[in-house]
């Protein structure tokens, strides 16, 4: 049972990362220690768990939904739409009259709009999966261009704030903002995990899944909506944190050889472990100065993808895999 061992391993890494995140470098005692622990360390660690688990889960769900290992929130336009929405709120100085901060609302709307555009291609009934991904890439590029235009229009303070935000980091949040992000996130993740059985069957291909009883269109819409909500609320708060959604499901597949059903929960667990671990490194790698966690997830994620996932693997029949010459 390789996947049980992997689940224990991910859990172990997660516990170590959480412990480090909470106590490494903490003052021995005193009021300051309590404040740092309860008001800074705990909410930040919880936010890390939330962000990592969500990005890992959404990445795995998208790869299954689109049946393509390139499909992640970063590549189908969800993250780019969310980033554009949050940036617009920041640069235009939008004020929200709703309970949620303006950036969260705008990010969700941006993620929803981008995802809806991609879904409209996906649900047209004529598009192949590659074309859906192509639409996602187009939306990502367009959102990037509009972001540049917003930057050009912004004044200096807004430009600085947006540059800070776009690095992708876990901000210092209070419990109230943490709860505001956690609500939509948890709702989105719950829908994805609730639909794990449908997603697992959908991985057999659209037609076969339908013949087995899956209402494939409804599931696609549900999963895309739930993912937009979760990713939108994260991007609004933390900025774009790349590579988690792409790397984590691949790592899980490679190490755990998960059953189709355990891919989603294992990706959730591994995503949380990866992000909290990266955040610990981001805080302590350079003394006295904190790196944005998004820099580390990408800086560690790219080589990990090259050396761990893209390494040629042995085939069942003992032959060497085909290579490009």
């Amino acid at each position: 049972m390789k996947q049980s061992w992997a689940a224990f391993a991910f859990m172990g890494v997660l516990l170590v990362a959480v412990a480090c995140s909470l106590v490494v470098g903490l003052e021995p005692a005193g009021d300051l220690r309590d404040f740092v622990f309860y008001e800074l360390r705990v909410p930040r660690t919880v936010l890390g768990l939330l962000v990592g688990a969500t990005l890992g889960l959404v990445g795995a769900a998208f790869q299954t939904l689109f049946q393509n290992s390139l499909a992640t929130p970063d590549t189908v336009g969800t993250s780019a739409g969310a980033a554009l929405g949050a940036l617009a709120a920041l640069v235009l100085g939008a004020q929200s009259s709703l309970f949620l901060p303006a950036a969260t609302v705008f990010a969700f709307l941006g993620a929803l709009l981008a995802t809806a555009l991609v879904s409209s291609v996906a649900l047209s009934g004529r598009a192949r999966l590659e074309e859906v991904l192509l639409a996602g890439v187009a939306i990502t590029l367009a959102a990037g261009a509009i972001s540049q235009a917003l930057h050009a229009m912004a004044d200096a303070p807004a430009l600085f704030a947006s540059a800070q935000w776009s690095l992708g980091q876990l901000p210092q949040v209070g419990y109230q903002r943490l709860l505001l992000a956690a609500g939509p996130c948890a709702l989105g993740c719950a829908v994805l995990l609730y639909r794990a059985r449908e997603l697992e069957t959908l991985a057999l291909g659209e037609d076969w899944a339908r013949s087995l009883g899956v209402e494939t269109r409804r599931i696609r819409v549900e999963v895309l909506l739930a993912s937009s909500l979760a990713v939108g609320s994260i991007v609004a708060l933390c900025g774009p944190i790349s590579f988690v959604g792409l790397l984590v499901p691949h790592l899980v597949r490679r190490w755990a050889e998960p059953s189709a059903r355990s891919l989603l929960p294992l990706s959730c667990l591994a995503g949380a472990a990866y992000l909290v671990g990266c955040d610990v490194l981001a805080r302590h790698l350079i003394g006295g100065r904190e790196l944005p966690v998004g820099v580390l997830t990408a800086a560690l994620g790219a080589p990990a993808l090259f050396f761990l996932v893209l390494r040629p693997r042995p085939r069942a029949d003992g032959q060497k895999p085909p290579v490009l010459r």
């Binding site: 339908r210 087995l212 899956v214 050889e257 059953s259 189709a260 891919l263």
Partner: protein
């Protein structure tokens, strides 16, 4: 193995009826009926509309014209789960993008039952046992041979417990032993009361399904039904020759149809 007994009580009454189906230039005025206990073999040259017809019958594609009913009710009123309780599909070379264990794949056939993982797994293992594939439990679908995979796909079909089975080229890419095994397994399902619609080019193997007087052969050409004979009919070889452009002959036993190699030379 009583694969129907555990299904709904009315399962044996399942009846699919298609009248005057049209789909672009691919299907034209196709009518057929399939009931539990019946067996239809659908043949015809590549591009004659066999796959399109299968997709329409499965409800995967909407016909432009004609009526499509299951148990006397139009397809429009059926949910996917309900359709899956009546119609099972053995796809040809399905995509298995996400590798999984054999019993997980077979358990996917249980989707319509909305049951717990343990119950689905037990049912999957029974289905595998009915196809003498118990030894494949625990193996991964990307690490078994083509013949083993076909047995696993058949087990997935059995696990679904649908009374009507639509089967696409069950012997493709298999060695002779596995071809015979696949057709014998389908024949057993027919004897148990399932209705079979088998799409195939391999008419020589069809005899293995069972009683040739009860097997109906339909031939499609350019989207139309141009051949409708019983497998043991003396007219079948000549009709197949007209359909395919290759001479056919009957062998010594009823239902024994094959390409007439001597006439070909």
């Amino acid at each position: 193995m009583t694969s129907l007994a555990a299904g709904s009580p009315g399962a044996k009454l399942a009846k699919l009826s298609a009248r005057a189906l049209c789909l672009g230039a691919r299907l034209c005025d196709v009518s057929l009926e399939l009931e539990a206990g019946q067996c239809i073999v659908l043949t015809g040259p590549n591009g004659s509309g066999k796959s399109s017809l299968l997709r329409v019958l499965l409800g995967l594609e909407k016909p432009d014209g004609g009526q499509l009913e299951l148990d006397g009710r139009s397809y429009d009123g059926w949910s996917r789960i309900e359709l899956a309780s009546r119609l099972g599909w053995l796809p040809q070379r399905p995509g298995l993008a996400e590798p999984r264990t054999v019993e997980e794949l077979v358990a996917a056939g249980r989707f319509r039952f909305r049951e717990s993982e343990a119950v689905a797994r037990a049912a999957a293992e029974r289905a595998l046992a009915s196809l003498d594939a118990t030894e494949l439990v625990g193996r991964r679908t990307d690490r078994i041979s083509g013949g083993e995979l076909q047995r696993v796909l058949l087990a997935t079909l059995v696990a679904q417990q649908a009374p009507l089975l639509l089967v696409d080229e069950p012997a493709n890419h298999l060695d002779p032993e596995q071809q015979v095994a696949a057709y014998r397994a389908l024949g057993r399902l027919w004897q148990q009361g399932h209705g079979l619609l088998v799409v195939t080019h391999e008419l020589g193997l069809v005899r293995l399904l069972g009683d040739p007087t009860r097997v109906r052969v339909l031939g499609l050409a350019q989207g139309r039904v141009v051949l409708d004979e019983r497998l043991d009919s003396p007219q079948l070889p000549a009709a197949l020759a007209r359909l395919s452009g290759v001479p056919f002959r009957s062998g010594g036993r009823p239902g024994d149809v094959s390409i007439d190699w001597e006439a070909l030379e």
